[in-house]
C-alpha cells in the first residue's frame, strides 16, 4: 500500500503489528486482515497430517476387511484378479485421492480451510482481494507434493535400504527444512504454494456486536436521564483524545467496579472535580458521551485528535 495509507486512523495495530495487512475488496473498501502466524500454520499442517494418516489407516482396514469378507480366511494376498483386484484398485485410487485431494476439497469449501486450519482458526484467501479460484487452490496444493510428500518419501525410502541411503536422507531433510522455513523468510508468511497460487493464509475474525457503550446517557422519556446532572464544560472535555476515549470505552464495556472507580477518580483529578462515590458508572457514561460527541463533531470537520498529548490534526496531512 502507499505510504499515505499508513497514517489512516482506522488501520489496526494489533499485538503483533508485523502481521497486520490491508486487503482491498473489489468494491474498493480496504479491510484490516491479520496474517496467520507461522506457529498456527505448522499446527494446522500437523493436525491435517494426523487426520490424513487416520483416514489412510481406515482405508487400509476397510480394504483388509473387504478382502476377508469376500474371500474368506484363506485369501491369497498376492492375487491380482477377481474381487481382490478390485479391492486393490480401490486402495490405490483412494490413497491417491486422499493425499492429493484432501487439501483441495476442503479449501474449495465455504470456509476455505482444511479441518486443521479450521481448528486453529485460519483460512486461505486470495492475496489481491479477488475471488479465490479453484485454479489457485489446485496450484497451491500441487506444490505441496514437492514441499512435503516427496522429501518425506525420500526419507521413507531410507528404511527400505539401498545405496546412497545416508545422503538421500540428509538431502530429504534439508529439502523439507528449506521449504518448511520458507514462510519465515518472507513478511507475508507465504509458503512455496502460496507464491505460485497468489494466495495467503489469514486469521478468521469473529466479533460480536456489543451494546451501546453508554446506554444511560440516552434521553429518558420523562427528560431526566440519570446522567443529566453531570454537565461538562469545553475545558473539561479538551483534556483527552481518541486513545483515552477508547480506553474509557473498554472500561465501560467490561464494567468492573474497581476499574470504574479508578478511572472516575483519575478523570475527576484531571478536570479538577471532587470525586464523589457510588455513582461512578453514570458519571463515566456522561463523560464518555460528552467527550465522544465533542471528538466526533470535530471529526466531521476533518479534525482528529489522537491522544491527550497531541493537538487536533487536519486529516490528510
Amino acid at each position: 500500500m502507499s505510504g499515505s495509507k499508513a497514517v489512516e486512523p482506522w488501520i489496526r495495530h494489533s499485538a503483533n503489528p508485523k502481521l497486520d495487512r490491508i486487503m482491498v475488496t473489489p468494491e474498493g473498501v480496504a479491510l484490516n486482515v491479520t496474517i496467520a502466524a507461522a506457529g498456527a500454520r505448522a499446527g494446522a499442517l500437523l493436525l491435517d497430517l494426523v487426520i490424513i494418516q487416520l483416514i489412510s489407516t481406515l482405508i487400509t482396514l476397510l480394504s483388509v476387511a473387504l478382502a476377508i469378507l469376500f474371500l474368506g480366511g484363506g485369501a491369497d494376498f498376492l492375487a491380482t484378479d477377481g474381487p481382490f483386484g478390485l479391492i486393490k484398485i480401490f486402495y490405490l485410487i483412494t490413497n491417491f485421492l486422499l493425499l492429493n485431494g484432501y487439501f483441495i476439497f476442503f479449501e474449495l469449501g465455504h470456509k476455505s480451510a482444511t479441518w486443521g486450519k479450521r481448528a486453529v482458526g485460519i483460512r486461505v484467501a486470495s492475496r489481491d482481494g479477488s475471488r479465490l479460484t479453484a485454479e489457485a487452490v489446485i496450484a497451491r496444493n500441487i506444490v505441496r507434493t514437492v514441499e512435503l510428500f516427496l522429501p518425506l518419501s525420500f526419507m521413507g525410502s531410507v528404511e527400505a535400504g539401498g545405496s546412497l541411503v545416508d545422503m538421500t536422507a540428509w538431502a530429504g531433510l534439508l529439502w523439507v527444512l528449506m521449504f518448511m522455513l520458507f514462510p519465515l523468510f518472507n513478511k507475508d508468511r507465504l509458503r512455496g504454494g502460496d507464491v505460485i497460487a497468489g494466495t495467503w493464509v489469514i486469521q478468521n475474525v469473529k466479533k460480536n456486536l456489543g451494546d451501546i457503550v453508554a446506554p444511560s446517557a440516552a434521553i429518558a422519556p420523562d427528560g431526566a436521564a440519570p446522567t443529566a446532572r453531570y454537565q461538562f464544560s469545553d475545558a473539561d472535555l479538551s483534556v483527552y483524545g481518541e486513545y483515552e476515549l477508547q480506553t474509557l470505552e473498554n472500561v465501560l464495556r467490561s464494567d468492573q467496579d474497581d476499574a470504574l472507580e479508578k478511572v472516575a477518580a483519575s478523570i475527576c483529578q484531571k478536570i479538577g472535580w471532587e470525586p464523589g462515590s457510588g455513582d461512578e458508572r453514570n458519571f463515566l457514561e456522561a463523560y464518555y458521551t460528552a467527550l465522544r460527541a465533542r471528538l466526533e463533531r470535530s471529526m466531521r470537520f476533518g479534525r482528529r485528535r489522537k491522544d491527550k498529548f497531541s493537538a487536533e490534526e487536519q486529516a490528510g496531512r
Partner: protein, 340 residues
Amino acid sequence: MSSDQALNAAVLRSDRFRLEREPDWIRLEEIVTKMEKGKARRLSDDDVLALPTLYRTLLSSLSIARENSLDAGLIDYLEGLALRAYFMVYGTQTSFSRWMGSFFGGGWSRAVRAIQFDIWVALAVMIAGAVIGYILVAGDSDWFYALVPGNFMDARVPGASEEALRGTLFGAQDEGGLAVFAAFLFSNNAQVALLAFALGFAFAVPSILLLIHNMALLGAMLWVFAQRGLTVDFVGWLSIHGTTELFAILLAGAAGIHVGRSIAFPGAKSHLKAASDAGKRAALVMAGVIVMLICAGLLEGFGRQLINNTAARFGVGGGMLLLWLVYFIGFGRERRGPDA
C-alpha cells in the same frame, strides 16, 4: 424501550446511525453464520438474494463509521463482519460440476494454448533427452545400467536375445492383474507429473532435468530394442498409451517451465504477481494432465496387453494423439472465458 424510542433517545449521532442500520447487520450476520456452517442450502431465497446487497450496505456502513464514529467496538464488529461476508460473496462459489463444465468446455484447452511456448521448449528438451539416452548407450552399453532403474530391467537389457525382447512386447500377461496394474501406473505417473510441475518453482531447472532423465531412459530402452530390429514393434508397444502419457508429461513439464520462467523473467509485472498468474494457468493444465494420465493408465493397463498387434497399437496410439491435438488446438476458441 422499543427500537424507535431508543433511536429517538440516543444522544450521539453515531449511535443513531448504528441503531438505524443494526437490523440489516444482524440479518447479514445470521446469513453468513449459516453459510459458514455449511447450511447454505437452508437459506431462504430472500436471504440468498439479499446477501450481496446487505454486504455492500455493510461496506458503506463501515466506510461511514470509520469517518464518523469513535465507537471502537462497533468498528471492530463491522470490520470483522465485512471480512466474513466478503469471503461468502467472493468465496469459491463455483460448484464442482460447474467448474468441470467450464474446464472441459474450453478452460483447459485455452490454458494449454496459453503456455504454447513452454510446450515447445519442453518438447525440445524431451527429444534431446531421448537422443542423449540413445547416443550414450550406443557409445557404451554400460550407460544403460546407470540410466535405467533396476525394476525395469528384467529381460530388457543390452545383449538380450530377440525372442526375449519380443516376449516383453507381446507376452501374454496375467489378464486379471491388468486393472490393478493400471491403477498402480496411474498413481505412479501422476506423482511424476505433479513433480515435474511443482519443481518448476525452482526456476524450471529441476523440471528440465527430470524430463531429460525420464526421456534418456526411454532412449536407452529404444537402443536395446533397435539392436535386435524391433524398433517399430517397440514404438508400437509404447505408442498405445505413450502418446497420451508422454503428452501428459510434456504438458506437466511445460507447466513447470512456464512457472519457472515467469518467476525468473517476470517482465513488467512484479515477481509475485507473475508467479501467481503463471501458477493459476499452469494449475488448470495440471488438472487436465491428471485426466490424461487416467486415460493413459487405462490404455496401458488394458489396451497394451490386450491388443497384441503392432498396427492396431499404432492405430489406437495415433488416434489418441489426434484426439488430444484436435481438442487442444480447436476447442473453446471463439468463446471468451465464462468466468473471466
